[in-house]
Symmetry: C2
Subunit: 223 residues, 2 copies
């Protein structure tokens, strides 16, 4: 038996166990009326910046918490806490993704009765986080323009499991050969129902549309 | 026992098995005088572009092969093959990294007696590939300017295991708040001996320095 075959079996085992835990967590969050958003992307695509923009727009309307996953630092949680919402840092200690059990542990640090919206900033990675249901109500991903329009061809699962795609750093569009129409065509081939929003966390472009979409999702869920 | 503890044990098991396989592969490559370079980065940082630039500069001097790792596509291997060197595509089928056994399998598709240099384009990911010795003589990583200067704080292992860091897309420097001095300081705290080269695969800036460094390493190894 080769080493990769063994690894696949282990992964399947972990994945089915995770699905059970994710379903339990979803039931609990629905009872508590806490909307959990799982935000995923490559390193440096703009997850923390998007979260800060989202807090700016929605903190008067909802009570918000942020669960930061990082392998070995607190920098993002410190930035988020400075914006005035509750932030919890989960150090994953080398893990490349969050699973439902890690998220449950992180959520224990919040009082869920007082929270409408918790945003998970997942580990920066387009591969592993896509495989693990975190118990979230919605999965969102960011692709930034400098990463290129070919990413749906290379990381198809990530594009398939998300309900919304933010294409960030659109202020870089003129500088690159990124083809937005081609990107959208590639994404929609994988996931016909996905919502695609063009944004720039730097200039603020598109943030109203994103905040509007998210606010509607949260309202529908918690009412 | 919690699910994460179980996962750690599995990983350690896989890692120690991988180390043995990587050492075997290193011995075999040294005998064959084939220099194996393991190139890692986030998705979209410019691995394929750097490989194409490297082939351009070094293909008259060395016989080169490229081992492309991709979860589910052939696009990179097709681009590389079009540049006139031998390319092998390894579809990792969801795996987030290459290990030594996968690399050995990929290398079987080459005639190593005729090759001086094989470049591995690892899966786009700053986490998992850093944990697995592929049997390479040298590890190189790319960080692109749009990803931000805080990445050494978040993905320290990757910066620690590489002998050379290419900072790519330096033509974007004027557009962002990326601080090159701060980046270098953060990287050198993790890895005092690392060589750092600023490049732009688009404009060609710094490619001479990179190709010179790599050519020296290959010459020393194969002579």
């Amino acid at each position: 038996m080769t080493s990769d075959v063994r690894l696949i079996e282990i992964k399947e085992d972990i994945l089915s166990d995770n699905t059970v835990q994710a379903e339990e967590l979803k039931r609990r969050l629905k009872e508590k009326k806490t909307f959990l958003l799982n935000l995923m992307s490559s390193p440096g695509s703009g997850k923390t910046s998007l979260i800060l923009r989202t807090i700016e727009r929605l903190k008067e309307r909802f009570s918000i918490g942020v669960l930061e996953a990082d392998i070995d630092s607190m920098v993002d949680a410190e930035k988020v806490a400075a914006s005035g919402v509750r932030a919890v840092q989960l150090k994953t200690g080398g893990f490349c993704h969050l699973d439902a059990a890690m998220v449950r542990t992180g959520l224990e640090a919040f009082d869920l009765d007082g929270l409408d919206l918790v945003i998970i900033e997942n580990v920066g990675n387009l591969v592993c986080p896509a495989e693990f249901d975190t118990g979230s109500a919605r999965n969102a991903m960011i692709l930034s323009v400098p990463e290129g329009d070919d990413k749906p061809l290379k990381y198809p699962l990530m594009f398939s499991v998300c309900q919304v795609l933010l294409v960030n750093k659109v202020d870089y569009l003129g500088l690159s050969d990124f083809n937005m129409d081609l990107l959208k065509e590639r994404v929609r081939k994988l996931n016909g129902g996905i919502k695609i929003i063009e944004v720039s966390c730097r200039t603020g472009e598109g943030i109203d549309e994103w905040a509007g979409w998210l606010a509607n999702e949260v309202e529908e869920y918690i009412r």
